[in-house]
Symmetry: C2
Subunit: 401 residues, 2 copies
Amino acid sequence: MSLFLQLVSVSEAVAEICRLAVRCGDDSVPLPEAFHRVLALDVQADVDIPGFTRSVVDGFAVHASDTTGSGDTIPSILNLSGRVEMGVSLKRHIKSGDCIYVPTGGILPEGADAVVMIEHAEQIGDEVLVKKPVAHGENVLFFNEDFSAGEVVCTKGRRLTSQDIGVLAAAGCTSVPVIRTPLIGIISTGNELVSVNHKPMPGQVRDVNSYVVAAFVQEQGCKPVQYGIIRDDRDALRSAISLAAGECDAVLISGGSSKDERDMVAAIIAERGTVLVHGIAIAPGKPTIIGKYNGKPVIGLPGHPASAFIVLIAIVSHMITAMTGETASTLRTIHATLGQNIPSSKGREDYVRVAVRDGIAMPLFGKSGLLNTLVRSTGVIRVPAESEGLETGTRVEVIVW
Amino acid sequence: MSLFLQLVSVSEAVAEICRLAVRCGDDSVPLPEAFHRVLALDVQADVDIPGFTRSVVDGFAVHASDTTGSGDTIPSILNLSGRVEMGVSLKRHIKSGDCIYVPTGGILPEGADAVVMIEHAEQIGDEVLVKKPVAHGENVLFFNEDFSAGEVVCTKGRRLTSQDIGVLAAAGCTSVPVIRTPLIGIISTGNELVSVNHKPMPGQVRDVNSYVVAAFVQEQGCKPVQYGIIRDDRDALRSAISLAAGECDAVLISGGSSKDERDMVAAIIAERGTVLVHGIAIAPGKPTIIGKYNGKPVIGLPGHPASAFIVLIAIVSHMITAMTGETASTLRTIHATLGQNIPSSKGREDYVRVAVRDGIAMPLFGKSGLLNTLVRSTGVIRVPAESEGLETGTRVEVIVW
């Protein structure tokens, strides 16, 4: 009897896991800790930015119209009528024909609408020779030109970049509303597994998946919680799953590579929950289980690290996005031109590792169980289930590691 | 007199800062903490990977040649002569015409060279009908096919990804040799600056740069150390620079936006070190200072956050790479087609913000001091100094945020 009578498509599996995933609650962190967190609420500027019209260069505040036609040979000659000090507002209106020295960041005197850079001017006594015309607004940031008070500066669901942190600082957001970091429980199963500090005996392999899965979920903005290597013992596995599902927002069970082990994982989930998916039409990664245990999503990953990694990308990343409410995908992609044909079976979504160089993506064929192709590749190409392959020269999207 | 008589090119500035930067020493961290760190030494596999020839599916170990020509209608009929248990080596040689059940990850019996997936076989009593031929090596990972003992699995200078962490686990690397995290001191200067939890009065602006710079260096794998907002007071600034240069590997002085303030920063550096660069042919970002103080690199960033951010990308990122010995750039790039002409002045390297959609990069012109274009853009395009601009349709590399 075939094992995988009920293979579901990748999109069905993604839909299932997104239905299961519960969006984590809101939290708030001090601004310096907000980098790479997901914003839980829209943030508005509490003040106008900038709060005053200011110069962005060191130079002479002028009426722009006074500089029309000026050049090196025939400069405009203006009367220097004062000097702005940093942080001080000059209570004087600048009139046509006059100019006032203003430092970078200084308050533009009233009446002026542009600043001539000092590199383009020459001061001789009380006169300034302007050698290059400026347009209205040149070298000036006007009052609230960047953001108005009350304007949304960053929208919820955004994973905060370093520039976003800067904008939040300007907006006065010292305490940032973010999504609580999802806790992901990680369990490794298999009698063949030994911990990394042991040399494996024949038949044994090191527990690679715990580390790969932890680093992956960490990269995606989650906190991994390790529950160790569990032997193929139903009671021990049940205890571990129950504990992890109680303490975490989702559980990833890594390993259970053989049919018997997978069946045990599925049976334990079924005792107190539901197995929703048992096999996905994806290569590599077919023997994946998706279930609900104690109301929490539980995913049984393939035992091979290289296959598990594809399931992390194709399925688990979507679960994490659903938990954080992040609006963009957590995966990075680049475009490239396929350098070699990729054959594929219809009805199965294939993930083929490629090395991208100079915009050309070369498939790294070879066994999906090899770690070395995972490290030597730039990323993976998705060959859709309805396709029988991709031809040389096709523009492809590469999910980069 | 012109301020910037001695403008240096971006490449000269990068060369200077890389000469100044000292590679940080080696450190070692437990494997679970090694994600995103830079490897200090090549790491070799301590064992053969895999350590035994294993099946990658649940199925029947066979002589591949016994399955030639088999199909749904005319299956090959093999004699089922046993079963491999996980982690146990079957001390029996499998002979032609026989097959042995083997679970995923099980040790392949001697003599067999391939595994027929159970989906492609039917067991009837002691006989197995094989309905699809397998090739030599199919569904099998051979002894040390992935890595041989002693083979380098990850090279020094690599910033460790989640797959790398998996490979290091497989290689038995529990304590990972990494580069010590560079400490970057951050000082903000300017009488106009107020801390983020204050509402700025006219003439004042919030200290945005401390936050932007800290998040940026954090993203690049460094640890930011804040020295606060320092008023434009020579003694106070000297003390702060001296303290930061003593405690950190490099110092970024943010602000000092006006000529007077910049001159003060330069003068303090000159007291106990050297000012190597005072002005770079880059837009935005011209008023950048590079110096050496107490043997440490010190960079004076432009006061405008948006300009400072370009200098972080164009100059500071290279300093960090030099300090960590990372072999790849820390910046991420994508390729796109330019959707609009970009004019540019020869002799100056321009960084133009663009929004990329569907592979088309549209320049966001406008004032370089605006934060909103920094947040609304996808990244920047570099227009080389020797170019007078880029034409619509040009393939460009976008440094993405």
